[in-house]
């Protein structure tokens, strides 16, 4: 642990987390402290468990048959796997953006308004407000403000992904989980999403899974390197990308394996 990290408040604390898909163990003794208001990147080769780890943070794995969790995930000091956790409230606090952009087959407006409506916002004026604010935050407003009633499936891939980010922001989460949010996008759209992450930094605690080393180094403050279900190294992005302690980390980052 570096000094700068110690000074930051911890938002998500994971202690000795083990995760199983049936009999197959996917995560081994994962312990990291994700700092508040920072961007933390999870890197590692395919199948290393980084997406699985991300999905343990909002209990998304709950809906998959035969999965099991051991250990603790503390958000603001409270174990989200304890029995008295309300998963619905938990997920409201934690936005998620998926690899494949998945707009609902509804209008642009209804996509953004979906979350607020679920959580009880009924007044049209208030909804208009939230939708506009969310779309502005995700830098999509100018492109879609005149076509709010069009089906969101008609947007381009990059726009769809920013729509998904706006939709996640509309429920006012504290944490934003992003599972390879730009892997299916062209370079220009990717740049826009990265700019967006940079802007959201500070307001939200962001955890992002990425396969793209340059992206991790560009957008993140901290980086965790996963390999075969274990955390090999976790430090500031600067340390990980300039002088990592572990040989494996260095090999992966420099492209010698993975």
């Amino acid at each position: 642990m570096t000094e700068s990290q110690a000074r930051l408040e911890t938002k998500i604390k994971t202690t000795s987390l083990n995760f199983y898909y049936g009999a197959v163990q996917a995560l081994f003794d994962v312990s990291i402290d994700v700092p508040a208001g920072q961007v933390t990147a999870l890197i590692g080769p395919s199948g290393c468990g980084k997406s699985t780890y991300l999905r343990t943070l909002n209990r998304m794995n709950d809906i998959i048959d035969g999965t099991r969790v051991e250990g603790q995930v503390l958000i603001d000091g409270k174990n989200i796997y304890s029995h008295d956790t309300d998963v619905v409230l938990l997920r409201k606090r934690i936005g998620m953006v998926f690899q494949k952009s998945t707009p609902f087959p509804k209008s642009i407006f209804d996509n953004i308004a979906f979350g607020p409506r679920i959580h009880g916002v009924r007044k049209r004026a208030e909804l208009n407000d939230i939708v506009e604010r969310s779309l502005k935050r995700s830098a999509l407003w100018d492109e879609v403000k005149d076509r709010m009633n069009e089906n969101a499936m008609g947007l381009s891939g990059g726009q769809q992904q920013r729509l998904c980010i706006a939709r996640a922001l509309a429920v006012d989460p504290e944490i934003l989980l992003m599972d390879e949010p730009a892997s299916a996008l062209d370079p220009r759209s990717t740049a826009k999403v990265e700019d967006l992450i940079a802007e959201l930094r500070g307001s939200y605690t962001i955890v992002i899974v990425t396969h793209n080393m340059q992206q991790a180094s560009r957008v993140s403050d901290y980086t965790a390197f996963f390999f075969e279900g274990r955390i090999i190294e976790f430090d500031t992005t600067q340390v990980i990308f300039t002088h990592p302690e572990e040989k494996q980390t260095e090999d992966y980052i420099t492209g010698r394996f993975g």
Binding site: I63, G95, F114
Partner: protein, 282 residues
């Protein structure tokens, strides 16, 4: 030797293709014969009066099937009201539930129910509804038809909902939507065209059912819209007139058959249109 074998193989190849074609053509012949025959025999009965008049006594011309049309509509409507909520709910359950003893039993029950002879379902409705009520009734007929519809609705709902991508559901859950709202606002709307198609197919199927109505709805020569009284229906009127000894009534039976076939055909075509035109793309 070799040349002749090649020639033989080519001839055999041609013959095989011809046989397959011939049998395919043969398979559609019955359908066209049915249409042709019913059209020929039934079309002459079709007059405006045929749809608005009640059946008339033997020898009196100009009888109609108004009571059977209204009765069939009533029976199907009430059957839908009974079967749709249950069928869609069970379909959702089977699509969403984890595989366990209970969900497997439910699915198996629906398959068995689907294969149940319709006359048996009629008897059951007789025991459950007609006997306790002490009278044949439209309601008992609708109960029998609802039991027949149920497995079709369950199966099409389940199959449709299984096609809804899991990612869509995950997005909704990740936004903090409770499970039931995810099903109501995301999963069901995404599968609505498939569910509607299933409903239309099941309606088309029960609209022509006779056996379950024989000792439930029973038939009624008069107009009736009271659910608690016997009611006529298209299949029943066809059955009763066709087994009668009078030519006038035979003509009515042909006419009613024609109407029934056109209705069922229209429902089937409509379901095709809906499943193609209104499919939600992902």
């Amino acid at each position: 030797m070799k040349a002749s074998r090649t020639a033989f193989r080519k001839v055999w190849d041609k013959a095989f293709v011809s046989i397959v074609l011939l049998l395919s053509i043969l398979s559609i012949v019955p359908l066209f014969l049915i249409f042709f025959h019913i059209f020929k025999e039934g079309f002459s009965s079709i007059t405006p009066g045929f749809f608005v008049n009640l059946p008339k006594p033997v020898g009196e011309p100009g009888g109609g099937i108004a009571n059977a049309l209204v009765g069939s509509g009533l029976l199907v409507l009430v059957a839908c009201i009974l079967a749709l909520p249950v069928g869609i709910a069970v379909g959702v359950f089977l699509a969403e539930a984890r595989t366990n003893l209970f969900s497997t039993s439910v699915r198996l029950s629906m398959e068995v129910l689907q294969g149940m002879p319709s006359i048996v379902i009629g008897i059951i409705a007789y025991l459950w509804v007609v006997k306790p009520m002490g009278t044949f009734s439209a309601l008992s007929g609708s109960v029998a038809l609802a039991i027949m519809m149920l497995p079709v609705i369950v199966r099409t709902t389940e199959e449709t909902l299984r096609l809804v991508p899991r990612s869509l559901k995950e997005v909704s859950l990740a936004l903090g939507a409770p499970y039931y709202l995810t099903v109501l606002r995301v999963v069901l709307p995404a599968g609505i065209s498939g569910i509607v198609t299933g409903i239309l197919i099941s309606v088309a199927r029960i609209a022509g059912e006779t056996a379950p109505l024989l000792f439930t709805a029973f038939g009624n020569p008069f107009m009736n819209t009271n659910l608690l009284k016997p009611v006529n229906s298209l299949p029943l009127i066809i059955f009763n007139y066709a087994i009668s000894p009078y030519d006038d009534w035979h003509a009515l039976a042909w006419g009613a058959s024609f109407v029934l076939i056109v209705l069922v055909l229209a429902l089937n075509l409509l379901s095709k249109v809906i499943s193609h035109r209104f499919r939600v793309e992902f």
